[in-house]
Amino acid sequence: MVPLECYIGLSAIIFMIGVAGFLIRRNIIIMLMSIELMLNAVNISLVAFSHYLQDLRGQVFVFFIITVAAAEAAIGLAILVSLFKNKAAVHTDEITEMKG
């Protein structure tokens, strides 16, 4: 039997890779995919907790996270499409309107 800590460790590593991808990439599409990666890492840890603590509440939370992830992807990509229509840019360093 694999101990619970291994699953949490795996989830932490995937979360870290997601954070790194969000921080270091220029492309907004890849940044959105990194957010999906982070949400999936949290889902893995919730399902592992649910299995090892013998409680289904963790898996119910996974449902809600998947719902929010779907909504976030739809809205994020819609923002991306309208940004591309206005500026023809999908790189973070070309979007400098808020810079003082």
Binding site: G9, I17, M33, L53, V60, A69
Partner: protein, 168 residues
């Protein structure tokens, strides 16, 4: 012994796939590696006796969200992507921040104390079937959050249409 071998395979493969996702130059390649990643996550859910969630993971993530990503990449036609530098100039700072978050989680994990077990043991879930047990919890204890989730989806539908439509 066999579960340990399976887990080691999944850990190594998922770490490698995540690194591939965030480092590929072409976004289409990233999406395809993400597809492989989602299949591995679904298999890990099966491994943790969450078969309904494994099916939802494949249908919703691999079937819906990734297709959405592919459609947007197709619409935007990112030819210049292949010639531009893919990481920002300050990338070591980003990696250092991510590693510090990982260390923080590991130090927290050392203090982890397992709580009391719940009532849904593997045998109890097996006798009731997983989908039925999950549905019971979702539609009784979590009915109100479930309704709020439907509202979140409605806002996402309306918001996506409003943001992406042509200005008149």
């Amino acid at each position: 012994m066999l579960p340990v071998i399976f887990f080691i395979y999944f850990a190594v493969a998922m770490t490698a796939l995540s690194i591939l996702i965030i480092t590929r130059k072409n976004p289409v390649h990233s999406v395809l590696w993400m597809l492989a990643m989602f299949f591995h996550i679904a298999a890990l859910y099966l491994f943790l006796n969450a078969e309904f969630l494994a099916a939802v993971q494949l249908i919703l993530y691999a079937g819906a969200i990734l297709v959405l990503f592919l459609f947007v990449i197709m619409m935007l036609n990112l030819r210049e992507e292949l010639s531009i530098e893919r990481f920002i100039d300050e990338w070591p700072i980003g990696v250092a921040l991510a590693v510090s978050i990982l260390l923080l989680i590991y130090f927290t994990l050392a203090k982890f104390v397992q709580g009391p077990l719940g009532q849904y043991s593997i045998e109890a879930v097996k006798s009731e079937t997983h989908t039925k047990a999950l549905g019971k919890v979702l539609y009784t204890d979590y009915l109100f959050p479930f309704e709020i989730a439907s509202l979140v989806l409605l806002i996402a539908i309306v918001g996506a249409i409003v943001l992406a439509k042509k200005r008149s």
